[in-house]
Every structure is written in C-alpha cells, then in structure tokens.
Symmetry: C2
Subunit: 340 residues, 2 copies
DNA sequence: GGTTAGAGTCGAACCGGTTCGCAACGGATG
DNA sequence: CATCCGTTGCGAACCGGTTCGACTCTAACC
C-alpha cells in the first residue's frame, strides 16, 4: 500500500507538504496541490487509519453497545442499531458493534484501548453496570434509555410516562371504563427495564384520575407463552373493552389470539400498542400505536455524541436528558366500547 | 492514559523490556516480569489500539458488511449478524459494522485504510458488486451466500438445492401430489438473490422426477401484501395439499391466513418452511421447517476467516466453498394429504 | 582456563501519519 | 535600498507501540 511518503515523493515534495496539501490546514500553492492530488490518484493512496488515529488521537469510530438479553424481543433492537449506524455514517463515523454478553468488560476494553471516540449505549437499565465505567472513560457517551443517574452522559428516551397517560386518555375519551395493560415479563423489570413501570405507573395514575378500572398484567416476551397470557387475561376480565400493549411480542401475538376468540378490533375490543411504525409494517399489525421512534432516538443520540466528540459543545455544558414526545398513530383499532 | 513508557519507568526497565515482559516473546526474568505486571495494574495500563495496529499491522477487527435492502425481511438478517459478532469476539476480534447502502464504497474505505484484518460479507448476490473490490483487497474475505464466481474468497451457504429436494421429497413421501412453493419477490431474484431460484429449480426438478405437480409463486416480502399473495395462491389452486415456504414474511403471515380460511395444518394442509429455529420460536411458527442455521453459517465464516488472517492456512491453500446440509425440523405440520 | 551457549536487558529503528518551528522567497512599503 | 510581511515549503519531532541487533553476565563444557 502507498504511504504518504510515496505520494510526497511522486509529487516531488516533502511528507509534511503532502499532508498539508491534503488536509488544507496550511496554504499550499495550486500547482503543488494539483501534483499531490494527481499522485494520490495515481498510487491509489488511502491514509492508514491506525497511523492517523495515533497521530490525531481520533479514530472516527463510535462504539455501539447492544445487549441481546434472553427475554427480550430481538427484532425491536435492530431498528435502534440501524438508526445509530446510519446516522454515524452520515457524520463520517464508523460503528464498532459490541454485542458481548458481558457489556462492562467490553466497554472497558474499547474505551481504554482508544478504539473509539465515543460510545452509544442501547437498552439502558435503571441501574446499568456499564454506566460507572462509561463515566470514568475519557470518551463521551450517549444513552438510549433512562437510568436512575444521568450524570456525565447525554440521555435520550421516549417519554414513557406521557405514553402511558396518552394511551389511557385516548380510550377514556372514547368511553371505555375497564381496560387492561399488558407489560413486559417480570424479568425485564427486575433487570432494570425502567421504561416498563414508567409507562405502567403513569397509566395507573391516569386511570385513577379518570375513574376507570385498569388491570395490569405481565406478558411473556416469547411465543407461544405470551399468547396464553393474553387469553388468560381476556378470560379473567370479561368486562375489559380496551387493551394497552407495551410488549412487542404480545402485539405480534395478538392478531392470532383475537382471531381464535372470534374478536375483531375495534368492534369487540379497542387496542393501542407501543411500537414503531416500521415494526407495525413488518408484522402487519393493524393496531393504533404509540410510535416508539427507535431510529429517531438513535439519530438524536449520535448527533449529540458527535457534537461532544468534535468539541462543538463546551466541555462544561450540562448534559442533556431529552424525551421524545410520544405520538399516537391511528390505525383504526379503537372506537367506542361495545355496549354490554 | 498510561503508555508503555510509563509502565517501563515505574518498573525501572526499558520500554522494550516492558513490551517483551507483556508479550512473552522473549525470555524475561521472573522478577522483572512481576514488577512490570505490578506497574500495569498500578497505572491501569491498556495498550493503545492505534499504535499497536500501526506497529503490527493487525487491528484485531473484522469488518461485517450487512445490507438492509428495501424488500427484505430485516429480522432474519439480525441472526447472521449475531452469529458473526459472537464468534468473532470469542476469537479475540471486534466487529466493525457497515450497514451502508453503498456497500462498495464502504468496503473500499475500510480495507484501504486498514481498519480491519478481514471481511465478512452477508447477503451475497449472484453477481455481487462488492466482490471485485474484496478480491483486490489485501485482507481475506469470507462470504455467507453463494455468488457466481467464488474465486479468492471462502464461501459458506446452506445447500439450497438439497433443501428444495428435501421439501418436495418429504411431502411426496407422505402422499402429496399437488403442492405449491412460495418464493421471494421478483426483486430479490433480479437483484441476484441466487438462493431463491437455487431452491426453486431443485424443487421443480424433484417434483418432475417424482411426477407431482408443483406450482411456484413469488410472495411479497412485506405484510400485508404477502397475505394477499397466499390467499390468491390458495384460491387459484384448490387442489393443493402441501405448501413450501421459502420466504420469511410469508411464513410469519401464514398462521393468520390459514386461520381466516378455517384451515389447520396438517389436517387440511401440510406446510414446510425454510427458516431458523430461532425465527420459529420468536414468531411461534408451528410449521416443520428446513433449518437455515444463520448462526452456524456466521460462525463458520468467521472461523475460516480468522484462520486465514492468522496464517494458519497456507496462502496458496485453495479457498473453500462449503454447503451446510439442510435438516428438516419436524414440528408436526405435515401429514398425509386430505383425501379429496 | 578459555570458549561457548543461552538468558536477560537495552537502545534504536520503524510503522505512517500530523504538526510545530523555521527559513527562503518575493513583493510591497517607507 | 533596507525592512517587513505573507506565502510556501521543509525538516524534525511526536503519537505509542513492536522488534531487531548488540551487549553483558553467568553457567556449562571441553
């Protein structure tokens, strides 16, 4: 492979001149610049990433830590990853993908060895073990998901409280008085998936304020268990006229369950989910849903991260905690309750 | 951050001695080794990846090129990615994820700049534009998917011909005489997704040899279109007693379609798919299927790639083209045809 | 007792970029 | 004509590792 020395020689200038001609950081005569560029083309020169990283202490790589946990619905994760990856590329960065089960060790490895200029953490838990390590790293970090302690990092998440209220209010306004919320399995909550109870608590509050009955159940994250959970729920509470689904697997399983029970939405049952539009299209889910906007969150996280990396933001500028306002995408699965 | 110079100074030795003490590439007295290791611990030293890459011309990073194409079922891709990522990590490599729409430019960028020691290409097309670039790169490459020209790279894929025969034979043996095969959309084939017609052609041949009727149709890769495709198929060929599904989206849509038509498998219709067990569990698909083994293919590709990177294989050792023998996972969705 | 082998350490060079300080040059200015 | 300044290019140092050759010292061998 050609080095910048080869380019310099071919252009008849020194290495430093060649470097300046390419970076434009000092004035270079038009003639020399042309000769250097010609040499680059001739030799097919591409800078060596390692050497450049060593000299500039910038790798132009962002670390992406994605956890694929046992009881989580993997396809949902993919969309966050793509949002991050595509945005990073637009801004000139590559992605180092870390899917290690042991996220803490992996995080320490890639930050200490300076393989990356910054870190994006996905699927952040209430008390995430990776967070202390990220704070002690010299690279900035951006999170998708809300931890208990947001200090030292930029945080982006859906406003799950508002989502919970929105779901309840929507059905209340249509006249529903007894509804049920299907959440994630206990495991997810115990592990620290705070978003589950953030939505749930807000929904419970809103239901109380509106004076309507809200049953909450944990749904499995896997088929076919989650189908059984849904059936059990409908058996136990025959008075329920509305369903709130904060669980991708449950949403994916619902069409079959309803069909088997001979129910249709919104005639027999109103349904509101919480998942992305992309998800809805992939699985052809006909339910109105709160848009979870994974690509948008990934994009916001990377944008802010790159601002910090490139010093566009003062080092002492406070870190942001930004919530995306949930929006209800109407797919016609809600209506007035069936009059008993 | 501490450098190896700091470590050497703290241990009272030269930089080279510190380096040898850590790498073990030369004999070092037990005393010195202990002092160096102590200094490493004390200072929290981690080698700088860029510097090491520059010195050794090894980055310990593998480039993973995944294409997310418009009319493809994204969740299926995720499993290949995880197979590759996890295996790479086990072997000490990190993954540079490239999801660029423009795979050719991205590939050139990461190989020329020596960011990676090797490349894994997913979703390889019959005439893949990325291949010439990969061949001209100095790093070795491994493919998941079979191109027309396999020279210069190691290739791993499911034996789709055998899969096609297996599906047909299985139903033939049970007594079926009129079956239908649902493939991918035209786009996928035109773009070069060779595996679609590899399976299809073999199925057609096998059907002819067995003297049974085989209808082939292209199914959409998105909901709800693919549901319509399935319904149209069943309407057009009421005599069909068996269904072969080489299309993830179609498989995911089938339970609903069958339910709506009041059909059950295997009583009314025998069904054989082609997807991974993980996929079946995620979507609770109750159909017997040819295991597509994405994690296994990813694993094989990385294993061989690392062997080449590390020179465990002679440079002139011929490249391999290895097919995974398809296996039918029996989920009880096939049986003797309904006697008309 | 001299030679030799091997163990253990160091200094210096190298990987391929970037960047700082300096100097040569030419034109404008007083 | 001397001075000053901006433009343009060069040489050298540096980033943080690895590795080669040479040197010293000790133990073993003939």
């Amino acid at each position: 492979m050609a080095t910048i020395g080869d380019v310099a020689q071919a252009a008849g200038v020194s290495r430093s001149t060649a470097s300046y001609a390419l970076s434009g950081k000092r004035a270079i005569s038009a003639d020399v610049r042309r000769r250097v560029e010609e040499a680059v083309r001739q030799l097919g020169y591409t800078p060596n990433a390692g050497a450049r990283a060593l000299a500039t202490s910038q790798t132009m790589v962002i670390g992406l830590l994605a956890q694929f946990l046992e009881d989580e619905f993997a396809p949902a994760m993919l969309q966050y990853m793509l949002g991050v990856s595509n945005t990073a590329r637009e801004l000139g960065y590559d992605i180092l993908l870390v899917s290690d089960a042991d996220g803490t060790r992996a995080l320490r490895r890639i930050t200490d060895s300076r393989m990356v200029d910054g870190i994006v953490l996905l699927n952040v838990a209430e008390r995430d073990e990776r967070l202390p390590i990220l704070r002690s790293a010299t690279q900035p970090g951006a999170l998708v998901g809300l931890p208990a302690d947001c200090s030292g990092v930029d945080v982006f998440d859906l406003d799950f409280e508002e989502a919970g209220r929105l779901m309840v209010d929507h059905l209340h306004r249509l006249g529903h008085r007894e509804v049920a919320l299907v959440s994630q399995p206990e495991h997810v909550i115990e592990r620290g998936g705070a978003y589950v109870w953030r939505l749930q608590n807000a929904a419970v509050e809103a239901a109380k304020a509106r004076g309507i009955t809200l049953h909450t159940v944990a749904g499995s994250s896997h088929q076919p268990d989650v189908g059984h959970d849904l059936n059990a729920l409908l058996d136990a509470h025959p008075g329920v006229t509305g369903l709130l689904i904060n669980n991708e697997a449950a949403a994916a399983a619902l069409p079959t369950v309803l069909h088997e029970r001979g129910l249709t939405a919104p005639e027999d049952l109103s349904v509101v989910g919480r998942y992305s539009d992309e998800f809805a299209r992939t699985f052809s889910l006909p339910y109105s849903s709160i848009e979870s906007a994974p690509d948008r969150l990934g994009r916001m996280a990377v944008r802010q991260l790159v601002r910090r990396i490139e010093g566009d933001v003062a080092a002492d500028e406070p870190h942001v905690v930004r919530f995306v306002t949930p929006e209800l995408v109407d797919r016609g699965s809600t209506g007035a309750p069936r009059t008993a």
